[in-house]
Amino acid sequence: MKEISEMKLPDNVKYTDDHEWAKDEGGNVKIGITDYAQDQLGDIVFVEMPEVGATYEKGDEFGTVESVKAVSELFMPICGEIVAINEGLEDAPEQVNSDPYDGGWMISVKPSDTGELDALMDKAAYLDMLKG
């Protein structure tokens, strides 16, 4: 298990209480789970994805991430429409462990309200939360 000081926490993404990250990519927002979340879950063996075109409210469950030991829900950090899913995770779900912010991204969302992204935690606030 990683120490908090060993966690990869990029500056250019926003963070949620439920350990998702969200990154503005010039209009659409990419979403995944943080290095802390993947470390807690252990080996990710399956990611259950939503349908492209579905819309969700902030806080809705959009999928599940399955480790060898448990199944955990994935929650929408913002409201919006799913415009893409990371199909590469079907054959290589372990990318969520090895590369949580890049190869391990899960969904891309067209936000209904761009202000919601700004309201999420930045790195410093998320780090404070992890440190308790």
Binding site: G42, D43, E66, V68, V71
Partner: protein, 423 residues
């Protein structure tokens, strides 16, 4: 149960090596180090090393020890060894359970016969005091001494096809020790004062009790040792096993391995319901008929007369997805009726399904299309008798998965392979 978890003597080692720790049976134990999937696969292809010092040991000796155990234990110590059902004898051990009068399970156990009128019982974490009290309650007037060794022994398990090669490097006289050592036999003693202690020593002279048992379904050993020596033994085995790909393993891999091997977890797959109608009839003194017991024991009357007892079956899923058992998942039959609950649901990551057949990474006949993506497996408890292959739906508050009952899960397990073939 105490509020603070106990620690085994390898606790510091686990933490230093990055283990994710969690409470199990009152002990803070490693769930995994870096990858539970790799740990699971290592035990099937090479070897894994487990700290199992949380398990409890109770000694029973005296002229009437046999009578006491025959009364309290489900298996028949006078008829349990081999296909001919021979009597248990020194150097052999047997699986069974301790029941209440109503047929419910207190705990499952392996009884080792150390010598005439001298037995060692290995039970689950935190159960030493309960089992010792249960035995003492039935020992009144009997010439027998019950001794709870909880937290006074170290135990490590070396499991996997390379286990014999690794352990042979650790032993002082491997050829002598490995001569005639079938599945469910053991040699040696953890107590230097025992006359058995000379039978198995490590290269540095440490006496150990070496047993050809385990909880993974794979070939290997359980090793009982004086706790002062456990850190040295752990490191010695890791060093010896390096060239054979040994991997330290946590309890998560142990759980998924045992689920794929159709072995029950006490207080989860067996527990406060009658110990019958389950896949572990070999733990009962049967001669083929489910309740036609060859002896009377505590709980046997309840099992004989029990009506409407639930049935426990192993199942296999179509893919690796699991349901949660913390909010007990329901079992639905083909007509959508709820017929029971899910006891265990784990993923055996060594498995894959091709044309409806289960293959393992160890299957020599695995087809080109085989990919070890993992299959969910475990146990369900239902209110009616089912046949193997019956389709069921397991439903938790999130999803439902399709599974079928099965008599076996992971093919080509190595637990029973003769030791000489493993050197």
């Amino acid at each position: 149960m105490s509020t603070e978890s106990k620690k085994t003597l390898l606790h510091a080692w686990h933490c230093e090596h990055g283990a994710k720790m969690a409470d199990f049976g009152g002990y803070e134990m490693p769930l995994w180090y870096s990858s539970v999937k790799n740990e699971h696969l290592a035990v099937i292809t090479n070897a894994g090393l487990f700290d199992t010092s949380h398990m409890a040991v109770v000694l029973v000796d005296g002229p009437e020890a046999f009578d006491l155990l025959q009364t309290c234990f489900t298996n028949d110590l006078s008829a349990c060894i081999g296909p001919q059902k021979k009597e248990l004898y020194p150097g052999r051990c047997v699986y069974g359970a301790f029941l209440k009068e109503n047929g419910d399970v207190i705990d499952d156990a392996i009884i080792f016969q150390l010598a005439k009128a001298d037995y060692m019982i290995v039970i689950n974490a935190g159960m030493g005091a309960s089992i010792a009290a249960h035995l003492n309650a039935h020992a009144a007037g009997k010439d027998v001494v019950v001794k709870d060794l909880t937290d006074m022994l170290g135990k490590v398990d070396v499991q996997g096809p390379m286990a014999a090669k690794i352990v042979s490097k650790v032993l002082a006289e491997p050829d002598r020790v490995f001569e005639a050592m079938p599945y469910f036999s053991f040699k040696g003693h953890f107590d230097a004062a025992s006359p058995l202690a000379d039978a198995v020593r490590t290269s540095d002279g440490t006496p150990i009790l070496l047993s050809r048992t385990g909880y993974t379904g794979e070939f290997g050993f359980e090793i009982f040792v004086n706790p002062n020596m456990i850190e040295t033994l752990w490191q010695t085995i890791l060093d010896a096993g390096d060239e054979f790909g040994i991997t330290p393993c946590g309890l998560a891999a142990r759980d998924s391995l045992r689920a794929g091997a159709v072995l029950p977890l006490s207080h989860q797959d067996i527990g406060n319901w009658p110990f019958m109608n389950h896949p572990w009839l070999f733990a009962l003194p049967t001669d083929g008929h489910k309740t036609d017991f060859t002896k009377t024991f505590i709980g046997s009357d309840a099992l004989r007369s029990s009506e409407n007892a639930d049935y426990t079956y192993a199942f296999i899923g179509n893919d690796l997805r699991k349901v949660s058992t913390t909010d007990p998942a329901q079992v639905l039959d083909a007509d959508g009726r709820t017929i029971g609950s899910v006891l265990t649901c784990a993923t055996d990551m060594a498995l894959g399904m091709v044309d409806g057949k289960i293959y393992s990474v160890a299957s020599p006949d695995r087809p080109a299309a085989f990919k070890a993506k993992g299959l969910s497996c475990g146990f369900v408890k239902v209110d009616r008798e089912l046949s193997p292959g019956q389709l069921l739906q397991l439903k938790d508050n999130r999803r439902s998965i399709k599974v079928r009952t099965t008599e076996d899960v992971r093919p080509y397990r190595t637990a029973r392979v003769p030791l000489k073939n493993m050197l």
